[in-house]
């Protein structure tokens, strides 16, 4: 099947239709379109690159097999996101890899060669505290916080993905931020005062 009109910016429904018609390249476009979003969504949940890499590949494998069953009742990214969150939650429930986070922080310091040394140090500290704060969140609160704050999903979308009420999602989000605030206070970290 000709894929002249298909590219990474093509409409999701077009890509899905082309894939279901046998165009394997359409799936590659879907992967390139959403791989970063999927990766970072997972990464902010599991807080570890290797785990995030493995889970990202598994999510797209799952998507490959289940794409023919997608009926278009929700947004396509919401469908993908649901798979990603479920895989992340399952992973977190099985494993708790706190120590792996420290390796990533050291790598972050080495890779941040555009910043001055003191800025690099502060950035690495900030990253470490951020990850520690997110890791302190219960799994559901972590998922709600990441979806709302980082991925800018609506409470309605979050409630669909997690199969919970909208009011409950709002409460989860508020309590997640309060918990991060508590971690920051316990670290006596100087929070930047900006308007």
């Amino acid at each position: 099947m000709a894929d002249i009109n298909l590219n990474i910016n093509s409409d999701d429904n077009e890509l899905i239709k082309a894939f279901n018609d046998g165009n394997q390249n359409a799936f590659n476009y879907i992967v390139r379109k959403y791989q970063k979003k999927v990766y970072w969504s997972i990464r902010k949940m599991v807080l570890n690159h290797d785990d995030a890499d493995d889970l990202t590949q598994e999510v797209f494998l799952k998507l490959y097999r289940s794409l023919k069953d997608f009926r278009g009742e929700s947004k396509f990214f919401t469908y993908i996101y649901k798979i990603a969150i479920n895989y992340s939650l399952n992973h977190l429930n099985k494993n708790r890899k706190i120590n792996m986070r420290k390796v990533d922080i050291e790598n972050a310091v080495l890779k941040s060669f555009d910043k001055k040394a003191d800025e690099m140090l502060e950035a690495s500290q900030r990253t470490k505290i951020l990850e520690e704060a997110i890791e302190s969140l219960p799994v559901q609160q972590r998922a709600v916080f990441n979806m709302r704050y980082y991925d800018n999903l609506s409470y309605e979308e979050i409630s669909i993905i997690l199969n919970k009420s909208v009011g409950g999602m709002k409460a989860n989000y508020f309590h997640a931020i309060k918990k991060i605030e508590k971690i920051l206070k316990s670290k006596n970290f100087e929070i930047l005062e900006t308007n």
Binding site: Y39, Q57, F60, L61, L130, Y149, E193
Partner: protein, 261 residues
């Protein structure tokens, strides 16, 4: 002034208010009014704002673009690997189900065998019972007076047993008489043999006066052996007695009793 939002609703919407994500203008004005009049609500607002400032400044480590350039390749490679393993995965699933179920199957077979043997035993018992009932039923049909026939059979058996006993007693009696009176029997026999021999000698002399009597060559011992019974003779007598008819045996026994030998 009644508000459609309670204090908890206003509190939970503070994060979105700080990030300017609230689309409802009425809600926004409610929050702003609350901030003006409620110091605790304002303090809450300030702390949340500081937290969001930190979150805005903090970042996760950046990844190089090469990672995302290679990610589709890795995904395709994994797809191909998974497809080739699907058969083995299915087989492993099969074994995952089969192996745990083996003990259950073995237990079921064991129970079934025991249960079936019990059934067989039970069926056999039932058959035996049925046969017994059929036999007794048949017996009832052919012999209307069951008790009388039973008595007859029992009597017949008693008679047979008694007859056998009588026979063995008689045989013992005969042996006893023979052994006890063996000497007398020997002497009686000798007298009879002597009488017969004399008669034979007279006849021989008459017929052949000049012939040697070859009988002279027999020893006395041999002669005596003709006259005296031995154990072999006793056994022969027993066999001869047993070969007789019951009436004959009885006659001999009566004679022996009368003779008191």
């Amino acid at each position: 002034m009644n508000s459609k939002f309670n204090k908890e609703d206003l509190k939970f919407n503070l994060p979105d208010y700080i990030l300017k994500k609230i689309g409802d203008s009425e809600l926004v004005s409610e929050i702003e009014n609350e901030l003006k009049v409620n110091s605790e609500f304002k303090k809450e607002y300030e702390e949340l704002k500081r937290t969001f400032n930190f979150l805005n400044a903090a970042e996760f480590e950046n990844l190089s673009e090469s990672y995302f350039a290679n990610l589709p390749v890795k995904i395709n490679r994994r797809l191909e690997t998974k497809d080739s393993l699907s058969f083995w995965k299915k087989l492993s699933m099969f074994w995952k189900i089969l192996i745990p179920s083996v003990p259950i199957i073995l237990i079921a077979i064991f129970l079934f065998n025991n249960f079936s043997e019990d059934n067989i035993d039970q069926s056999l018992r039932n058959k035996i019972k049925e046969n017994k009932s059929v036999e007794s039923h048949d017996t009832n049909e052919s012999n209307p007076t069951n008790n009388e026939d039973k008595n007859k059979i029992e009597n017949k058996e008693t008679v047979n047993i008694n007859e056998k006993k009588q026979d063995s007693n008689d045989l013992a009696k005969v042996n006893k008489f023979i052994k006890k009176n063996n000497k007398n029997y020997k002497s009686i026999r000798k007298n009879k043999v002597d009488a017969i021999t004399e008669e034979n000698e007279d006849i021989t002399d008459l017929l052949n006066p000049f012939a040697d009597n070859l009988d002279d060559q027999e020893t006395d011992e041999d002669e005596e052996s003709l006259f005296y019974s031995t154990d072999d003779d006793t056994e022969t007598l027993e066999n001869e007695f047993l070969n007789l008819t019951p009436e004959q045996q009885k006659e001999i026994l009566d004679n022996l009793n009368q003779a008191q030998i």
